[in-house]
């Protein structure tokens, strides 16, 4: 609507009046409120950033460990994989009987947090609580915020509508073979933020 026809108010004073100053004050207060809320959002976003850095640290460790974990003297024994037997060899019945139970993902992830340099990492969303793994991020359970989630990527047959299937890795899944995994962290709303996909 054009205000060319706006009612002509006789100017009382061209200087700001008391009400004008009140308006200016409310503007300043509104800006302060926005800045305060902005800072709160920034703090929360920073926590998500820290969670992402934690995830990246785990990714780096796991990627570095990928090659070595099939060697006999791998440092974190719980994550050690089973080296494939040489082609054509026949396993002796005595040796098979003495072989210990295969490592599982649950044991490996616990070991990563306890034995590797990851033990120094904290969950940014929960003060004083150290980093933990979760089977999946779930927005209904916000206590999962800051946790790390590792999922298995299974390629589908060529021509499928979706290229891969993502499934959770339960703690009892055996870790003896290399698999493709996706590592995510749960943000403040416990939504998954993908960090990386790699082979472990």
């Amino acid at each position: 609507m054009s205000s060319a026809q706006a009612h002509p108010n006789p100017p009382v004073s061209t200087q700001p009046t008391g009400v004008d100053w009140l308006f200016l004050l409310s503007c300043v207060l509104a800006l302060a409120l926005v800045a305060w809320f902005g800072k709160m959002n920034y703090t929360q976003a920073n926590k998500t950033e820290t969670a992402k850095r934690n995830g990246e640290a785990v990714v780096t460790w796991m990627q570095e460990a990928t090659a070595g974990r099939f060697e006999p003297d791998f440092g974190v024994a719980a994550c050690a994989g089973t080296a494939p037997p040489p082609a054509g060899s026949v396993p002796s019945p005595d040796k098979a009987a003495t072989t210990k139970a295969p490592n599982t993902w649950g044991g490996c992830l616990d070991a990563i947090l306890l034995e590797s340099n990851m033990k120094a990492l904290d969950n940014p969303f929960r003060d004083g609580i150290s980093l933990d793994f979760a089977p999946a991020c779930n927005p209904d359970d916000r206590s999962l915020a800051g946790n790390i989630v590792i999922e298995k990527i299974t390629p589908t047959p060529p021509g499928s509508a979706i290229a891969t299937i993502i499934s959770p890795i339960t703690p009892d899944v055996v870790i003896d073979q290399k698999i493709q995994v996706r590592l995510s962290v749960c943000d403040k709303g416990a939504y998954a933020v993908k960090v990386a996909e790699f082979e472990f």
């Binding site: 205000s3 108010n9 004008d20 509104a30 926005v34 959002n41």
Partner: protein, 548 residues
């Protein structure tokens, strides 16, 4: 003493001038080189030269520099494109240096400096020239003196000061326009359309528009995981700045609403403004930020973020095309609602039929009528996803009829809207013609009327050709009105003084034409010999012929 108003007759009206269309600058190529260059590039008083374009592109470059300076602070963006940033910086400096040198060279032609003892020195000492120099100096400084990168970035911020070359004149104009007005009226002039906004209001609208686009672009990019992963913090900062700007704009709008016609009461006027759709959109644009910040401990309200896209609707404020569309929808609402009713009826009936004949054959697909409604809509709208399709012969026959009906039924609202929109435009153009005719009641258009005409023509998106054809039609209509006037009895003509004057002019013309075609000596002889004309009548005849 009041200045006489410059008036223009319809026959002299030029559509291109009226619409402010590009006119070719009238600059003689024989001018001395410096004068010629100044006339083309920097003289603000020559219409059709490149001065406005130069200013516009320099302003765009300054704003682009501001954006690159902000983006350089984001390593995820800066690092991969470092070379491009540097190239843009070099390009900007080259342009700014050329601009500075051109202004320096042409200073003796500039009205502001030409009367000074040494115009170029006077230019160099002027505030704008100092700002221009500060904008380019840091770049050269780093070539000769090792400067800390942070200090260099800070110095580059000085480049932004160049924007004052555009802002200050606008501010000056705004002050002049609002000299005797209150603080609230000034705020009103800035946020509402009025005759007091001037260029500053245009800049304010552009500023808000740019922030709307930035924030909407950010909302869209936030959904791209790979981008959001890298610059999530920057998105948070950007949103906070956008909300701060929109909040202040919103408060200004509510506070100064009482200056709007019909909003005089401080309380009800502001409530009325608050409930106004366009102001409510402003409110929706900032609401998600506050709700999310207030309730983030209790609820995850990130779904509200998508409502930030409502900010795009802010751009429709002041859009006459949108206003016309709403007007059309309102006008055609009864017809459209009838069409919608038929559509709903058809959907429900066909869905029920579909359910009836297909449920037995494929109970998992035609599970119930709501599922069949989905199938009916997809079929009637000619979308045809194919996820639910009939298998029985009767079902297929129904689908054939439905598809054919759907083409017609779904096209009705679209056709209605299109024809009503075109009709509305015609009506508005007719209204414009009527208003020109009214303005031409005195046979002329003054500057105020021309300005009104210009804004109306702009609102209706009239091209020079269209305006020309309107003016031609008007000329013909005026001519025809003049002719039909002659058919009226003299006592009727005499009731309108303007018509009486026109009629008098017509009669004088008729006498003059008679004088041209008649044999003068025979006429005089006849008039005098038989005493057919009195002496005074004969005298009047001679005087009319002398003066025409």
């Amino acid at each position: 003493m009041e200045q006489p108003r410059k008036a223009i007759k319809i026959a002299d009206l030029d559509a291109a001038t009226l619409l402010g269309a590009e006119v070719e600058a009238n600059i003689s190529p024989d001018l001395p080189r410096r004068q010629w260059l100044y006339a083309w590039l920097l003289n603000p008083n020559i219409p059709g030269n490149y001065q406005k374009s130069v200013d516009k592109w320099i302003a765009i470059l300054i704003i682009a520099n501001l954006f690159t300076m902000v983006l350089e602070q984001v390593p995820a963006i800066f690092e991969p494109y470092k070379n491009w940033f540097h190239a843009f910086d070099v390009f900007s400096i080259i342009v700014f240096v050329i601009e500075y040198l051109t202004r320096f060279y042409l200073a003796p032609e500039d009205e502001e400096f030409k009367d000074k003892g040494n115009p170029r020195l006077a230019y160099m000492a002027s505030p704008f020239a100092i700002i221009d120099l500060l904008a380019i100096l840091p770049f050269f400084l780093q070539a000769f003196v090792p400067v800390d990168l942070r200090a260099l970035r800070f110095l580059r911020l000085l480049r932004i000061l160049k924007i004052f070359r555009i802002l200050l004149p606008a501010l000056k104009e705004f002050k002049a326009l609002n000299r005797e007005r209150t603080f609230r009226q000034k705020i009103h002039a800035l946020v509402f359309q009025s005759a007091y906004g001037g260029k500053l209001k245009e800049f304010f609208d552009t500023f808000i528009g740019v922030w709307v686009l930035i924030s909407v672009f950010a909302v869209v990019l936030e959904t791209v995981a790979s981008v959001s992963y890298l610059i999530n913090i920057e998105f948070v900062i950007l949103d906070t700045i956008a909300v701060a700007i929109f909040t202040i704009e919103y408060m200004m709008r509510i506070y100064s609403a009482v200056e709007e016609p019909g909003h005089r009461n401080p309380l009800t006027g502001r409530v009325k403004q608050f409930t106004n759709p366009s102001t409510f959109i402003d409110f929706l644009a900032i609401l998600p930020f506050f709700l999310e910040a207030l309730l983030h401990h209790v609820l995850d309200l990130r779904f509200l973020r998508i409502f930030r896209l409502a900010r795009l609707l802010k751009l429709t404020r002041g859009s006459d095309a949108t206003a016309t569309l709403f007007k059309v929808i309102k006008r055609e609402w009864p017809v459209m609602s009838a069409a919608a009713f038929i559509m709903i009826l058809l959907i429900v009936l066909t869905a029920s039929l579909g359910y009836l004949v297909e449920h037995a054959a494929q109970p998992e697909k035609f599970e119930n009528i709501p599922t069949a409604i989905y199938w009916a809509v997809i079929t009637l709208a000619s979308v045809g996803y194919g996820d639910i399709s009939p298998v029985t012969p009767i079902g297929r026959a129904i689908t054939v009829v439905m598809s054919l009906l759907g083409i017609g039924i779904f096209a009705i609202p679209a056709g209605l809207l299109a024809s009503a929109f075109s009709d509305q435009l015609h009506k508005e153009r007719d209204a414009l013609k009527a208003s020109i005719l009214k303005m031409l009641g005195d046979g002329e258009l003054d500057e105020e009327e021309m300005a009104l005409l210009r804004s109306e023509a702009k609102r209706l998106h009239l091209t020079v050709e269209e305006m020309n054809s309107i003016l031609e039609v008007l000329q013909l209509e005026l001519e025809s009105a003049r002719k039909s006037l002659l058919q009226l009895p003299v006592n009727v003509i005499a009731q309108n003084s303007l018509h009486a004057v026109e009629h008098y002019k017509y009669l004088l013309n008729q006498i003059a034409q008679l004088g041209i075609y008649v044999d003068q000596s025979a006429f005089l002889e006849k008039a005098q010999s038989e005493d057919r004309l009195t002496v005074s009548e004969l005298e009047l005849w001679k005087r009319i012929l002398e003066h025409r």
